[in-house]
Symmetry: C3
Subunit: 166 residues, 3 copies
């Protein structure tokens, strides 16, 4: 069972994804892809952790989401939040996006316990001026298509509400 | 009866919202949140007013939408166009966004006659370079979620057509 | 039969539109609106052409989409990819957008064989800084509304999947 929750910034994606994940079983694993660079980010992560409560076990996987899926297999549903930050980390560290995407998709297809993934819609504004932003936008769109193709369920968050896409 | 109509720029939101509002009763009150700074804007507002026709009574509420809702209570449905301009005015005048949003939501929940609100989707492009744009985008997303949560009906305008979200 | 497929960058619009067009009959005509300025673009077009395969006959119409519709009438369905590039060309060459849009809409309404059109959602990001981008965004939104109004079917591509709008 693979669920993809996509949407714009502050569209309520994470909240929808958390609820969807908890509905799939308990306890749940929270796989965070944000890299913690400083105390401010550490504080934000701690705040989020406190909000989520004791149903969740926390994992950090800025790059190795495939390893985190293996480590949490057989222990309830997993939430990966989010693919946009993961893609950013993959590109920032100079890894091969196509190769990493293929590894992720293979791991999702092999997963036995449910996986809920959060991603972003970033391609519905004006074409960005700078080439890096355009390259990121293209990579994000292709990643979203590949994960959506293998997902059992795809939801688009609009103003905090889910629109069923698949 | 609270209806939220969201969508991108030039997606036909206002036209859908006007039609939805008129279907809820006559006469209807049009609560404009745009601030009129100059003759050009005055001319635009006059043009819009002429287009809308005699079913509408016009009110201007760049900030005090809560007061406008009170003033138009019991006189048919109200259309607030739009929350994005209102949020812009709230931030520009240095008011507390959280406090103003809470006041607005309380007024909507207390309203007896129907209210239709127009807002914008602004979070589906690339992350903006400047911090003010990011802050505005976050505030808009949170405002949209709060109003959508209490709305009876939420529509997303795509190419002038409504997609039912709630 | 007029079908409009809209969506963000890299949302899988073209692939959905190609499949929808081929389902409407064979052979199909591919009407490309991209202007070929250099060898790099020529190579890209050749790559796309090879991918599409022999079901397609190719036409180029950076501006004269109306003429291309006339030239391909009675020979199976037509795919116009895309309206955003066409609008860009119309504005770049200083033609009257309103007049060209009206001509296009009249040709679509007069068409006997099916037409599938691809367009873009570009109005869901932050308001662009520069006036040209805002003008383009407005023109794109109005064009999308006009074509959607006369279309029999409108699809929104999200992560490669179609959301039925009309």
């Amino acid at each position: 069972m693979i669920v993809l929750v996509t949407g714009g910034a502050r569209s309520g994606k994470s909240k929808l994804a958390e609820a969807r994940c908890l509905a799939l079983g308990l306890p749940a694993s929270y796989i965070a892809t944000a890299e913690i660079f400083d105390d401010e980010m550490r504080a934000r992560v701690d705040t989020h952790r406190a909000r989520r409560g004791s149903e969740w076990r926390d994992f950090a996987a800025p790059l190795d989401v495939v390893g985190a899926l293996a480590a949490t297999e057989g222990q309830g549903p997993r939430l990966i939040d989010c693919l946009t930050m993961w893609l950013n980390n993959v590109m920032y560290h100079g890894l091969d996006v196509g190769h990493e995407t293929a590894r992720l998709c293979a791991a999702l297809q092999a997963a036995r316990a449910p996986v809920v993934l959060v991603t972003n819609e970033i391609g519905m504004g004006i074409v960005p001026d700078n080439a890096l932003a355009r390259a990121f936008r293209d990579a994000q769109g292709i990643l979203n298509q590949e994960v959506a193709a293998l997902a059992d369920e795809v939801l688009l968050a609009i103003s905090g509400l889910p629109v069923r896409v698949k």
